[in-house]
């Protein structure tokens, strides 16, 4: 396929879509399917068959539309006006279809067009979500898919592409926030006979599902971004590493790669240029540490996913010793829009140091849970109370957890902090990959810290001692605090250990494992002290049924009984 054929295909598909009297968009992502989207689809298809409407309309099974807690979602566009219906039943769906076709759409069940959940979002990465069938490449092409790749291949030099990305201010969306353009340039300048591009889709943070949604809802966007990156750095082979827990994402990407190859948008001589680029899928096998870039690369090479010390950085020596560009899936999904609409347009969003938008998975104790994309610099309060609609059942906001087990909890007094890389770091948390979990007053902070420490302890790969041993010790200390057997001295030991593990671990997992502890100690120290000194859990979560070892003499009577029994 060449540039003209691509444009023709896009126009053809657009024409076909315009000729239809009505298009119904049914959210067919996991949350909506589990809420009953399948029955809705069957009912709609039956109705279409029964009344022989197939020539006039189509039902598009799309990826995630966002407000997952309100599924199944059905969206229609009548006379340029879009309506999204929530919690649709099969009967309602048929009615929506018939009325929509007649030109007078029903209002019951429709979400108001101006609700903050939609109005406050800015969609760049998720622009196609909810508008295309991820299994149909022509849907993607009709919405400018691969247009940026075609432009780049014929009009720009690799150096220009790297500079454009640099100019846009795009920073790594996996959590690190390293400027993407700088990384691209490093790989481009590394002399080597072979180079690789890797998309990190090993989204291991609990409470985060942005990458899953991107891969499931708009796989071609990721592939296009990778191909552009391949051209920019001089690589001919790319890998997408997908978490083993995401079989649907893997299946959709496999199909997308095959379709793109068949159309000549990937493979050899991409779009009739001299550029060759193949993408292979690698499915992970359930190891959190593989989200770390060096561990991910050892996993792609079929080994135990253990990190290796940096430097050398992957940009110099990565997969099989060759320079490798490794970026998060969301970072790649930003690439095509940047090149399509220009770096300046992209840099117009966000703050001075953090450009563009960020996708968050908003969940926990919040009314509208789901997937959102907001410009950088928006305040946490706007996310939780405007877009999220506040806490359900009159709950009190206690903390917002960002960054998963590497991040921390942000208390209510910092709700007005702008969300960008630097501000969150100052608060002792991190942007992370984008999980945002809202907690109410029934969450106990030492317990949450213990939860994350247990996670890190389980997921530590065991290669370096500080992380392997340190996480176990920190977990034991936190367990003592939450079961009532801790002494004040334990708190000091815990803090000391946190510093040690942070400074001496080999990779990001160990370095950031103490973050949730340090951060909750900073903001919720009183809660820790209440556990230790007053033997009470303010949130009412912990049992506190144990006694500190040194205080055992005070409980000599019980001890005697214990000895007798044993």
């Amino acid at each position: 396929m060449n540039l003209t054929a691509l444009t023709e295909l896009a126009e053809q598909e657009l024409q076909r879509q315009q000729d239809l009297k009505l298009r119904l968009f049914l959210c067919y992502s996991t949350p909506c399917i589990s809420a009953g989207a399948e029955a809705v689809k069957v009912a709609l298809e039956e109705l279409i068959k029964e009344q022989d409407l197939a020539a006039q309309l189509e039902v598009v099974a799309t990826g995630c539309m966002g407000p997952c807690s309100r599924g199944p979602l059905l969206r229609i566009v009548v006379a340029g006006e879009e309506r999204t219906y929530e919690k649709v039943t099969p009967e309602q769906a048929c009615e929506i279809l018939l009325h929509g076709l007649a030109g007078n759409p029903i209002e019951t069940g429709a979400l108001p067009a101006d609700i903050p959940f939609f109005a406050r979002q800015t969609k760049i990465v998720l622009g196609n979500n909810g508008w295309i069938d991820p299994g149909k490449i022509e849907h993607s092409i009709a919405r400018d898919g691969y247009a940026a790749l075609a432009y780049v291949l014929h009009e720009m030099s690799p150096e220009e592409v790297c500079n454009e990305i640099k100019k846009s201010g795009l920073r790594g969306r996996g959590g690190g926030g390293y400027p993407a353009g700088v990384k691209w340039n490093l790989v481009r300048k590394s002399p080597a006979e072979r180079k690789y591009v890797v998309a990190n889709g090993d989204e291991g943070d609990p409470g985060a599902y942005m990458d899953r949604t991107i891969m499931e809802s708009d796989p071609h966007r990721v592939l296009e971004g990778m191909a552009i990156a391949g051209y920019a750095v001089g690589a001919e082979q790319g890998y997408i590493y997908v978490r083993g827990e995401y079989p649907l994402a893997a299946a959709r990407l496999t199909k997308a790669i095959r379709d793109a190859e068949r159309c000549g948008l990937l493979g050899s001589r991409v779009l009739d240029s001299s550029f060759n680029f193949r993408i292979d899928l690698r499915v992970g096998a359930g190891a959190f540490v593989c989200g770390e870039e060096t561990a991910l690369m050892t996993s792609i090479m079929g080994r135990r996913g253990q990190p290796v010390p940096r430097p050398p950085y992957p940009a110099q020596s990565g997969l099989w010793g060759y320079p490798t560009l490794i970026n998060n899936v969301e970072s790649f999904a930003n690439v095509a829009p940047i090149l399509h609409r220009g770096a300046d347009w992209f840099a117009g969003f966000g703050t001075e140091k953090s450009k563009g938008t960020k996708v968050f998975a908003l969940c926990g104790e919040v009314v509208n849970s789901g997937l959102i994309e907001v410009p950088m610099g928006i305040s946490l309060r706007d996310i939780v109370f405007e877009i999220g609609g506040g806490l359900p059942d009159g709950g009190q906001f206690k903390a917002a957890q960002t960054g998963g087990p590497s991040g921390g909890c942000i208390p209510a007094e910092y709700l007005d902090t702008p969300v960008d890389y630097e501000s969150l770091k100052e608060l002792g948390s991190i942007m992370g990959s984008g999980g945002l979990i809202v907690m109410n007053e029934t969450s106990c902070m030492p317990d949450v810290a213990k939860f994350f420490m247990e996670f890190c302890m389980d997921e530590s790969c065991g290669k370096c001692v500080p992380c392997r041993v340190g996480t176990v010790e920190m977990y034991e200390l936190l367990k003592r605090i939450t079961d009532g057997s801790a002494m004040l001295g334990d708190l000091e030991t815990l803090e000391e250990l946190c510093g040690l593990v942070q400074e001496t671990s080999l990779c990001g997992l160990g370095m950031t494992a103490p973050n949730p502890v340090l951060n909750t100690l900073k903001y919720y120290r009183a809660e820790y002290l209440a556990h230790i000194e007053e033997n009470c859990c303010p949130a009412g979560v912990c049992q506190l049924d144990q006694v500190p070892l040194l205080k055992l003499p005070e409980h000599a009577a019980e001890l005697a009984i214990f000895k007798e029994e044993n």
Binding site: S34, S69, P206, A208, A285, G302, G364, Q401
Partner: protein, 178 residues
């Protein structure tokens, strides 16, 4: 030394042989490259349901890798299991969102009700209870998967009811066979 392929040497049950053929297919697809170990193990686990010593040995012979290497990889990743699985697999998500919404309690009660520890199979082999670190369906918290089905917004009662329904199906099928 050339190692004979399973399809030509393995005797015994037909089904067993067929499963090895699936592994062979994946070995051929990746051209016996050692770097493809994880893919081969994935397909072996898909065929057999678990990876026992015989399978690991076979893979290590075919890929010409030391058995310790293959064993090391198989035990490193949570996805690979060396023990046979139950007829049904229930995975309870213990991600942050699910935990905040009470998944910890659900798993504790399930362990009690099914008399099985998370990560192992019930005595009658009907159900394996597992936990996961986050299945990425946080808006459905607390959620779990029963076989491939996603069950969202669970309570203690609904979970146990769903599992009992599954187990009743197994029992009914077993009776029918008799």
């Amino acid at each position: 030394m050339t190692v004979p392929m399973a399809s030509s040497v393995k005797e015994g049950e037909n089904g067993h042989e067929l499963k090895f053929q699936l592994v062979d297919k994946s070995l051929k697809k990746c051209q016996f490259q050692q770097d493809a170990l994880i893919e081969v193990l994935h397909s072996a686990q898909e065929a057999f349901g678990h990876l026992d010593e015989e399978i690991l040995d076979y893979v290590s012979l075919q890929l010409k890798l030391p058995p310790s290497w293959v064993y090391g990889v198989a035990t490193f990743y949570n996805f690979f299991t060396l023990d046979p699985q139950g007829e049904h697999v229930c995975v309870v998500c213990l991600g942050t969102a699910c935990y905040v919404k009470g998944a910890g309690e659900i798993i504790a009660r399930l362990e009690e009700a099914l008399e099985v520890e998370a990560g192992s199979t019930t005595a009658d082999g009907s159900l394996t209870l597992m936990t996961a670190r986050c299945l990425g369906n946080c808006s459905l918290a607390p959620m779990l998967t029963l076989d491939a089905e996603v069950l969202g917004k669970q309570t203690l009662e609904s979970t146990i009811a769903a599992i009992e329904a599954k187990r009743a199906l197994v029992a009914a099928a077993a009776e029918e066979e008799l």
